[in-house]
Amino acid sequence: MIILITGLLLIIIGFWAMLTRKNLIRIIIGFAVMDTGINIVLVAIGYVKGKTAPIIDKAVTMAQGAEAGIQAVDKVVDPVPSALVLTAIVIGLAVTALMLAYAIRMYKTGNSLDIDDFEEQKW
């Protein structure tokens, strides 16, 4: 539960940063923070107290038959959120990297890192 709240807090902090900071880099940092928060939330959702990791080892014997399979599933936490998190981290990383690349190029073309300097197109 604490983890969940932490995650949500991070999301809010990140979003806040994205909304209020003017510097592009800070916005990107805000985004990264938000991304981390989301990942934490995901993990928190997937985690069930007292269960083991969804890895086939001794704790989860590879059983034959349907009944045993269900038993085995019962013992581990849901692996799907974890898998999601892995993917999400990758994607978040890619987006963050791309954003940074953008920031560099924007600095080159606009000579500024202030997002307020990039509002020529409107209406």
Binding site: L19, M99, Y102, W123
Partner: protein, 1050 residues
């Protein structure tokens, strides 16, 4: 069965392969890209083939060998196949379009393009929500990267804004998926859909977050500032990809998610869609930047699609119909929008104002026109059928709010799109010639056009309208477009022959009664006037095809047998006449107001038609056999719709400008023939609404007053015109007022008068307009006071106008008096005394403008600048000669016209006993009114009393000296300048002093106010787009919050 995995695999492999082969040769990597795109497109096509012909019904493919909950499922059914085909084809075309750019900007961009296609394909194919997320992210990242290709500051800023928005959306999506997963335990959409999960608040919120993430990706108004910036600043090829491929894929996934959503979300989503549609279109009104304009249009269309997908569930519509509608809208938008973006890239002009360089490029112009008209929802393009079906559903099931919003939005969209079209077509610009066309870049829009037409035929065939009503006008357009390189006279004569044969052998036998009369007016009248067009020296590209389309549509209007046929034909007519008006020299503004009023009218007609019983035995049928009742609302809507076409008072604003600015000969057709289509429609309504009207006397009274006021104000406004065509335009309006007045009586005599006037108005108005066309052609001006004394130069034209004005004014002995006699007697007979009085006033005012017309143009002082004016060309004389003969004929023998009209009318309203013909004497012996008129005798007496004085004068006046223009008594002075001696300008100043206050343009001011007001509103709305990425982020956040609160999700 084609494995959909191939689609993904091909792109993946391609994307990875490209950097390697690029080392060898850039062309090789481009080749890989084209191969991947073409190959996937052909795979989709094969799949389509399979589904159609081998009836393979298995569509799901599971990866990793597990059943759904454990594995990711891909679905490759009909929808997916069609969509991927289109997406990949568009991708390929974009590749072709971007070839130069891609070649320059390096291998990474090729890779990214392939990745983008991968994401799009995956998003379409996958049935797993998380997989969807992944593909969405791939798609988005690829898009970001592509936007970054253009290293302009604006593009980069837009990309960054987009990334911020996309980041927020994906965060939402991810959280939503995670929470939803807690409730469902599965990520597979099919499994999920089958689960019956209790709708707890948490679950709902999770679902809300998921769907809102996609809604945000679909760029709803007003949370779409970032998207507009992207559209505006990105490379047009990329914009086109975003508008078509990206939006298409996301939309499809959105559609796939819908079954999961609780029902209470659907109206919410539908509402957001509608709001987005309406307000985006409104905001676009003020937009001058072409790319941004397209962006607005794109978001609007997406909004409409959202509404269609989510809103129509309420109305118990069969899902396949929903798909049909959505498909129609989607494909039109898909192709047309990408096509327009491509064109925007070719034109390279940012503001819509500068698009007039298109005029020099006929091919581009045609493509542009096709895309614009397709987006506007005009037939034969798929959006037309979609809109037809939507309105059918909404109108029949009472979705009035949605219906109003959709029609209003469509009208706004038409307004800015067609204004743009007008700017491109206008002739009075002097743009320099553009450089040679990039032919490679032309291929994509060309293929898009072909695809659009193919889809149109497909959609049409689905609605069973692939009858002559659809293909005759189109075929005519096509055939004569191919023949367009022939000399004008040959084309024209071919057209006359084609229509003559078609009319005689195909249309005429199917008509009877009033239908036949209108057949004569619409087809015959138009046919005679075709000759008038043939005097031009050049080829007049585009004239004959459009004219052919128009006349075929007019013929079809009479024989249309279903509601859809009727409306389709009506829209064809509107479209072709709009394009014909556009041919005028500076007509783009006039044409815009014409098409907007016409579309407004058409939408009313559409709604009215939708309210009619669904299984009606055919429209024109009513004019032949029995009555068929329609409801009150339908009556009013249809009535107003047709009245707009006739140019009744209040909605006449388009009329003078359109008449004045169209080509001179076409004005004649507009006035004499096309306005009769509105009359035909009105008559149709009156026939069908007999029961309603019997119950509501007020309606008919209102109509008759409307008619007489139209007649009165039309005449009064005509008096003060300096422009000869405007004068005649208002005169036409006035005459149509009489026709409306006649029909509004709903009596035998009233209808006879209306039809009689319909006929005679055709003859004399076409006569005058044709003669004036010759005059304008020869003098090169439309201002009457710049002409004068042309009787000596153009005697035949003078005779035409003389006959015309005698007939218009209703002076005996010519046929015009018949219409006056009929109208007054029928009015008095029906007890409409005051209308009769006002109508009499109007007809007296007609003398003022008619005298002004003939005096200022033909009499008075000839101008030195027109010293060498010749008689009008032979081809213009032909229709005049025909009409003069007809007028003389029916003046001498009025029975040939009055009797058929009476017998045709008597099918609907029985001929009363007291109306009788003895020889040429029409006798009226009604208990309330006696009267008679013997046109033949009047003519003979007049000829007699005219002949004797003439002989006397010839006898006694042996020594008459013929003198010249300045041999006038000028108070012992001599005149010096013909143009100051000619009393012409502001001829009725005293009348203006006395009655001018009546015609202060209040109605025009009202419509101008509407325009002004909507533009101000648009400006106000557009100011929410501040250009700041953070503000946009806030918009999105607030938007979601507001929807959440408004939706009241509990």
């Amino acid at each position: 069965m084609v494995n959909p995995l191939y689609l993904i695999a091909v792109f993946l492999i391609g994307a990875f392969l490209v950097p390697f082969v690029d080392r060898a040769d850039r062309r090789l990597s481009l080749g890989v890209m084209y191969f991947s795109l073409l190959y996937t497109a052909s795979l989709s096509l094969m799949r389509l083939w399979q589904l159609f012909f081998t009836n393979g019904n298995e569509t799901q493919v599971f990866t990793a060998g597990f059943q759904p909950p454990l594995s990711i499922a891909l679905s490759f059914g009909f929808k997916e196949a069609l969509l991927t085909f289109l997406v990949n084809l568009t991708g390929f075309l974009s590749g072709v379009y971007l070839a130069k750019k891609l070649g320059k900007s390096g291998v990474q961009s090729i890779s990214i393009l392939l990745l983008l296609m991968l994401g799009a394909n995956g998003l379409i194919l996958t049935r797993d929500i998380f997989n969807g997320f992944v593909f969405l992210e791939i798609l988005s990242i690829a898009t970001y990267a592509l936007i970054g290709l253009k290293s302009k500051k604006n593009a980069l800023a837009a990309g960054f804004k987009y990334m911020m928005a996309g980041g927020l959306a994906s965060a939402l999506l991810l959280i939503g998926i995670a929470f939803a997963y807690r409730y469902s335990g599965t990520l597979n959409l099919d499994t999920w859909g089958r689960l019956l999960i209790p709708m707890t608040l948490g679950y709902k919120i999770a679902l809300f977050m998921i769907i809102m993430a996609f809604v945000i990706e679909l760029k709803p108004f007003p949370a779409n500032g970032w998207a507009l910036d992207v559209y505006q600043s990105a490379h047009s090829g990329v914009s086109s990809l975003i508008a078509s491929v990206h939006t298409g894929a996301v939309l499809y996934f959105f559609y796939k998610l819908l079954p999961l959503m609780p029902y209470e979300f659907l109206p919410l989503l539908a509402g957001t869609g509608l709001v987005s549609f309406l307000l985006s279109n409104l905001t676009a009104l003020r937009q001058k930047n072409a790319a941004r304009l397209l962006g607005y249009s794109s978001t609007a269309q997406t909004g409409l699609l959202m509404f269609v997908l989510t809103g129509l569930y309420r109305y118990n519509v069969h899902p396949s119909l929903v798909l049909f509608i959505a498909g129609g809208l989607f494909f039109t938008n898909f192709i047309a929008k990408s096509g327009l973006f491509w064109l925007a890239g070719i034109i390279k002009e940012k503001t819509t104002e500068k698009w007039s360089i298109l005029r020099k490029q006929p091919l581009l112009l045609v493509l542009f026109g096709v895309f614009i008209l397709a987006l506007t929802g005009l037939p034969p393009f798929p959006a037309f059928f979609a809109k037809w079906e939507i309105i059918q559903i909404l109108a029949q099931q009472g979705g009035w709010v949605a219906l109003t919003a959709i029609l209003l939005g469509s009208l706004l969209e038409a307004a800015y799109l067609l204004r743009w079209f007008g700017l491109a077509v206008r002739q009075n610009s002097d743009e320099p010639e553009t450089a040679s066309l990039p032919y490679l870049k032309l291929i994509p829009p060309l293929i898009g056009t072909i695809l659009l037409f193919a889809l149109s035929l497909f959609m049409g065939s689905q609605l069973y309208v692939l009858s002559e009503f659809m293909y005759f006008p189109l075929l005519a357009l096509l055939v004569f477009s191919i023949l367009d390189c022939c000399p004008l006279k040959l084309k024209g004569l071919l057209l006359v022959a084609a229509i003559g044969l078609w009319g005689w052998f195909s249309v005429w036998p199917r008509l009877m009664g009033i239908g036949q009369l209108f057949g004569l007016v619409l087809i015959g009248g138009a046919l005679v006037q075709v000759f008038g067009f043939l005097h031009h020296k050049g080829r007049e590209a585009g004239l004959i095809p459009l004219l052919a389309m128009l006349i075929f549509s007019l013929g079809n209007l009479l024989t249309a047998s279903t509601k859809l046929d009727f409306f389709l034909t009506w829209e064809f007519m509107t479209l072709s006449s709009y394009l014909l008006i556009m041919r005028g020299k500076s007509s783009h503004k006039a044409a815009l107001s014409y098409i907007l009023f016409s579309l407004g009218g058409a939408y009313l007609i559409l709604t009215g038609l939708s309210l009619m019983p669904p299984f009606s035995p055919g429209m024109a049928f009513y004019l032949q056999s029995g009555f068929h009742s329609i409801g009150l609302v339908s009556t009013i809507l249809l009535g107003i719709g047709f009245l707009i076409k006739t140019g009744a008072l209040g909605v006449h604003v388009w009329l003078p400008d359109a008449y004045a600015e169209a080509e001179n000969e076409f004005t004649s057709v507009l006035s004499s023939v096309l306005s009769k289509a509105g009359v035909f429609g009105l008559l149709l309504v009156l026939v069908m609404a007999k029961d309603v009207l019997a119950a509501n006397n007020l309606l008919l009274d209102a109509l008759s007053w409307l008619g007489v006021f139209t007649a009165f104000f039309g005449a009064l406004m005509a008096v003060f015109q300096e422009d000869v065509k405007k004068l005649l335009a208002y005169s036409s309006m006035s005459q149509l007022g009489y026709i409306i007045l006649g029909f509004a009586l709903m009596s035998h005599l009233g209808w006879v008068s209306g039809l009689y006037l319909t006929f005679t108005h055709l003859f004399f108005k076409a006569l005058i307009f044709m003669a004036i066309a010759g005059v304008i052609l020869r003098t090169g001006t439309r201002n009457m006071y710049e002409m004068g004394g042309l009787i000596k130069k153009m005697p035949i034209s003078y005779i035409s106008v003389l006959m015309g004005i005698i007939a218009v004014s209703g002076v005996p002995p010519l046929s015009g008096f018949g219409s006056k006699w009929f109208i007054y007697t029928s009015l008095i007979e029906q007890g409409h005394y005051f209308q009769a009085g006002l109508a009499f006033f109007a007809s007296a005012i007609a003398f003022l403008y008619l005298y002004r017309l003939i005096h200022t143009v033909f009499l008075g002082q000839p101008k030195p600048s027109q010293q060498n004016v010749k008689e009008a060309p032979f081809w213009l004389i032909i229709p005049q000669a025909i009409f003069i003969m007809v007028i003389m004929g029916i003046s001498l023998f009025p029975n040939y016209i009055t009797k058929p009209i009476s017998s045709a009318v008597s099918i609907f309203i029985e001929k009363p006993d007291w109306l009788s013909w003895t020889g040429y004497n029409i006798t009226l012996n009604s208990p309330v009114l006696h009267g008679n008129w013997n046109g033949n005798l009047v003519m003979l007496v007049t000829m007699g009393v005219f002949g004797f004085p003439l002989l006397w004068l010839l006898l006694i006046n042996a020594r008459t000296q013929k003198v010249k223009q300045f041999n006038i008594v000028f108070a012992a002075e001599r005149p010096y300048k013909p143009w100051t001696t000619h009393f012409a300008h502001n001829m009725f100043a005293h009348y203006n002093k006395a009655l001018g206050w009546l015609i202060t343009p209040r109605i025009t001011a009202f419509w101008n106010g509407v325009t002004e007001w909507s533009h101000s509103l648009a400006a106000a709305f557009s100011h929410i787009y501040t250009g700041n990425g953070q503000t946009y982020l806030l918009h999105i956040f607030m938007y979601i919050l507001v929807i959440f609160i408004v939706g009241g999700i509990r």
